[in-house]
């Protein structure tokens, strides 16, 4: 009876752990395969241990160039989407205007549209405008800012709506001007939301394949590089890039967590 009780209490947690294991399995394989020494050109199995992939990460021709391209597009798209989206979020929370419902719908729709539909729409537009020969860096950037924008608005809006407005009023009561109150009180409080939105934008942009592939012209981003080699010989170095992304992400999460702890301790 007691064992049954214990089982009932913990069965949910055990199932949850198995699900997490399922989610981690591919990540484990990415790290593992970054040390793989494939026996044949078409092998997808772990055949032997080697450090060669790590010692020569840029070995496969074009791979590192595609990573650089993805980083450039990621930074610019993040900058554009974060600025435009933050302004929209402030307007939605702090200002009165006509057409609020239509505005919210236009922000919601890109998040609910399959990527392949958005990508083909943009391609149809660019082609009918006679721009199909010029597609490349600029068209990828335009598309990425578009699909990141909605996510920025939603993230910053959530933070802004959760702010206690009495803090701003207190600043104004203490004779702060409107711009002082904004830059010294409101903005620092919203900043974590903006940073979160920027990180989200960057990872969405860096990882996007479907919309990018349809509008890339001759430009190759990292996901497009992987797509290209997946049909031929897959160089194990893509797993080195995958592992490096993992390390950078975990570092960012740790820094965020440390910041939270420090702030909590300072209180």
């Amino acid at each position: 009876m007691r064992a049954g009780r214990w089982l009932a209490d913990h069965v949910v947690m055990m199932v949850a752990m198995l699900v997490l294991l399922y989610m981690f399995l591919p990540i484990f394989f990415v790290v593992l395969m970054s040390f793989n020494d494939p026996a044949s050109r078409l092998s997808y199995e772990f055949d032997g241990f080697t450090l060669n992939n790590w010692l020569d990460p840029c070995g496969p021709s074009g791979m590192c160039a595609s990573v650089v391209k993805s980083l450039q597009i990621g930074f610019l798209a993040t900058l554009g989407a974060t600025v435009l989206g933050t302004l929209v979020a402030f307007a939605l929370v702090r200002h009165r205007f006509r057409g609020r419902a239509a505005t919210s719908l236009l922000i919601f729709l890109p998040m609910a549209t399959p990527e392949v539909v958005m990508g083909s729409s943009l391609l149809a537009l660019f082609t009918s405008a006679g721009l199909s020969g010029t597609l490349g860096f600029w068209s990828i950037l335009v598309a990425h800012i578009m699909f990141c924008l909605s996510f920025v608005v939603v993230t910053v809006k959530a933070r802004l709506a959760g702010l206690d407005s009495s803090l701003e009023q207190a600043a104004m009561d203490l004779y702060a001007t409107e711009s002082q109150a904004f830059w010294r009180v409101t903005f620092p409080l919203v900043l974590p939301g903006i940073v979160a939105a920027a990180l989200l934008s960057f990872s969405l942009s860096f990882d996007d394949f479907i919309i990018t592939n349809l509008n890339a012209g001759q430009t190759t981003t990292f996901p497009m590089y992987v797509w290209g080699v997946a049909r031929k010989t897959v160089p194990m170095q893509i797993n080195v890039i995958g592992t490096l992304m993992l390390i950078v992400s975990i570092t960012i999460v740790l820094i965020g967590e440390l910041n939270n702890r420090r702030r909590a301790a300072a209180r």
């Binding site: 009932a8 591919p26 990540i27 394949f209 960012i252």
Partner: protein, 302 residues
């Protein structure tokens, strides 16, 4: 990198302090203008252009240009030529959404109610798949499911798979990949919904002699409906349009409508047909979402 996603999902939880009064005047329009202009120019206008392209004369070509002939037969041709990929997209997406729900519910439940001080760590673990590239992760499934890999070996030893049976290049592989790739989108809204539930309601049901299962069915499940609906939509919509899993883990026999659209646009250069397929996919999803949301009785979500 998408910790932000978790924060965005979790950030809305909890009470909201009094919002400051909204200001009048033209300031709001100035703040809105650049962002909304971007969405109109690069989301709304392209969608209209897509519908227009789907009605172009199918006899035109990219070089010669297309004439607008309002040729509605394009839609019929698209549906009859690509019936199988259309159906496959909807079935694969529906199956993987169902599987994702079965996997995500216990996980979200455990994080919301059972995790204690491990809550943040488990939330980070949920979004960990986003920490590395979508395509590299999907290729990792190719290694996991490979013909001599341990998954296939175990299934063969258990006689679930025949001695020559394989997982790679089958529907099973594609559905496994789809379920995996969109699972976090199911877990996070479910968690946000479960987290908000007032535990006293569950206690009250126990006081009224409901057993664990009844209490779950009558209290917890209905209260988590908003998250369940949001999660299924966030999983189903991208899964129906995805073609990366079908391409990397399947064969042309598993191709979904996304594969068809991509190749019609980029290889065959048949724009009217490609656009018609895209519009049909969009309409099918909108119709299904509307019916589903009506049924689930959570209209306020939209």
């Amino acid at each position: 990198m998408s910790l932000a996603a978790a924060e965005a999902a979790g950030g809305t939880v909890g009470h909201e302090p009094a919002a400051p009064p909204r200001r009048r005047g033209s300031g709001g329009y100035l703040l809105l203008l650049p962002g909304m202009l971007w969405l109109v120019l690069f989301f709304l206008v392209p969608t209209i252009q897509l519908v227009a392209t789907s009605l172009y004369d199918p006899n035109g070509s990219l070089d010669a240009g297309y004439a607008m002939t309002w040729s509605f037969p394009n839609y019929w041709n698209a549906l009859t030529s690509f019936t199988a990929p259309f159906l496959r997209s909807l079935v694969y997406a529906a199956v993987s959404t169902g599987l994702a729900l079965l996997l995500a519910y216990p996980l979200a439940y455990a994080i919301a109610f059972k995790s204690g001080r491990w809550k943040n760590l488990m939330l980070v673990a949920v979004i960990a798949p986003f920490f590395t590239s979508f395509l590299v992760r999907t290729l990792a499934w190719k290694s996991i499911l490979s013909d001599n890999g341990f998954v296939v070996n175990v299934l063969q030893a258990l006689h679930i798979l025949g001695p020559d049976g394989r997982l790679l290049a089958t529907s099973v592989a594609v559905i496994t990949g789809l379920t995996y790739n969109f699972l976090p989108f199911m877990v996070l809204p479910l968690y946000a919904s479960l987290e908000k539930i007032d535990l006293r309601l569950i206690e009250a049901s126990k006081d009224l002699y409901a057993d664990g299962f009844t209490s779950f069915r009558k209290v917890t499940l209905p209260l988590s409906m908003p998250g369940l609906v949001a999660g299924t939509l966030l999983t189903f919509i991208p899964a129906a349009g995805d073609y990366i899993n079908a391409e990397l883990l399947g064969t042309p026999k598993q191709y979904m409508i996304g594969n068809v659209i991509d190749s019609l646009f980029l290889v065959q250069l048949d724009y009217p047909m490609a656009a018609a397929c895209s519009v049909i996919l969009m309409l099918a999803i909108v119709a299904m979402v509307l019916v589903y949301v009506r049924r689930a009785g959570t209209e306020e979500l939209l």
